[in-house]
Amino acid sequence: MSPLAALFIRDIRLAIRVGGGGGIGVLFFLIVVVLMPFAIGPDLTLLARLGPAILWLGALLASLLTLDRLFAVDHEDGSLDLILMSDTPLELAVAAKAAAHWLTTGLPLVIATPLLGLFMNLDAKASAAVMLTLLAGTPALTFIGLIGAALSVALRRGGLLLAVLVLPLTVPVLIFGVAASNAAIVGPLPFGTPFTILCALMLTSLVVGIFAAAAALRQGME
């Protein structure tokens, strides 16, 4: 088995075992979305109007919740030292960790979306649209979050700093994610235009996030 596959499988195992935090993101997403109808009131048209935005905000906060431990745990127990010393390029190791993180926190959010759409009075078509935008958007959130996680790696309680660093960078993803969802539900824009831009943002953050995070980790070891 290649070193990267070993790292990927280890991170997935760690996330799904007790205390790994793999399920926490979905639970947090659930509670944020469930609280919304109580706060807004039983106005069904208003809920459906706000639904995509609320689902997107919930997903954004939930994916942020687990990101701060992504590199910090490995830094604290010394694993990061060994990963840095190894002949496997750090960029690829970061990419393997990001893939494992998205699979254990981003993908469950996407899968939970149709169920949570019901709380927001979204019909099947609207739920499918939000689900599709989250499928394209959550990897972007993970890759952007990588940069913050790598920058705050050596800080105790780096979680708050992470949120401050990362949330502004996610604004474009949020705008086009919600815009694409709304376009599919109420129009008048075609769904394709904002969705294509969302996909482009995801691919850009894939490249930028991985290299920036690896550079930040190297710098942070000093």
Binding site: P3, R10, R13, L14, R17, D77, D81, M85, M221
Partner: protein
Amino acid sequence: MRLEASGLACVRGGREIFTGLGFSVGTGEALLVTGRNGSGKSSLLRMVAGLVRVAGGRLALVDADPDQNIPEQAHYLGHQDALKPSLTVAENLTFWTRYLGGAAPVTGALAAVGLAALANLPAAYLSAGQRRRLSIARLLAAKRPLWLLDEPTSALDREAQDTLTGLMRQHLSGGGIIVAAAHGPIGLDHAKELRLGDSG
């Protein structure tokens, strides 16, 4: 193969820890780095491991594989043991073996450090000494010529210290190099000693 250093300087947090440090240690030899707390023993090992920037001087592994740099040919046993509490003993070791490119099955390495019976126990339940033993098993599971050991005997009981001495002798007789930081003797008879902090 020979690890050579000359005029090494280390600066951490704006403070000079050591300067003008030189040593040379060859195949089958061990270097014991001693010195008071804060004299830079750990920093020196981390510098050789590529984890601390070389602020001055030269550090080279002579007559080694030219395709690999020093960290890629070294094992680093630091104060942190790089173990995940929720993975079992065998899973922890299997991961590092694969990540570091080792091919040997982990059962042999576990038996060598006396942890074979605990292979399926989550690492969270290990004592400090057992965690140390598991880290030492990593040195055996993937083969590297240079061992960088930071206080390798800490938390180990008498018997485990003897085991470690045996493993280190085996490594040296197989053509390896050991650089170890310690406060006391670690059981190697002909180790060169490098004392930090006396000159400055």
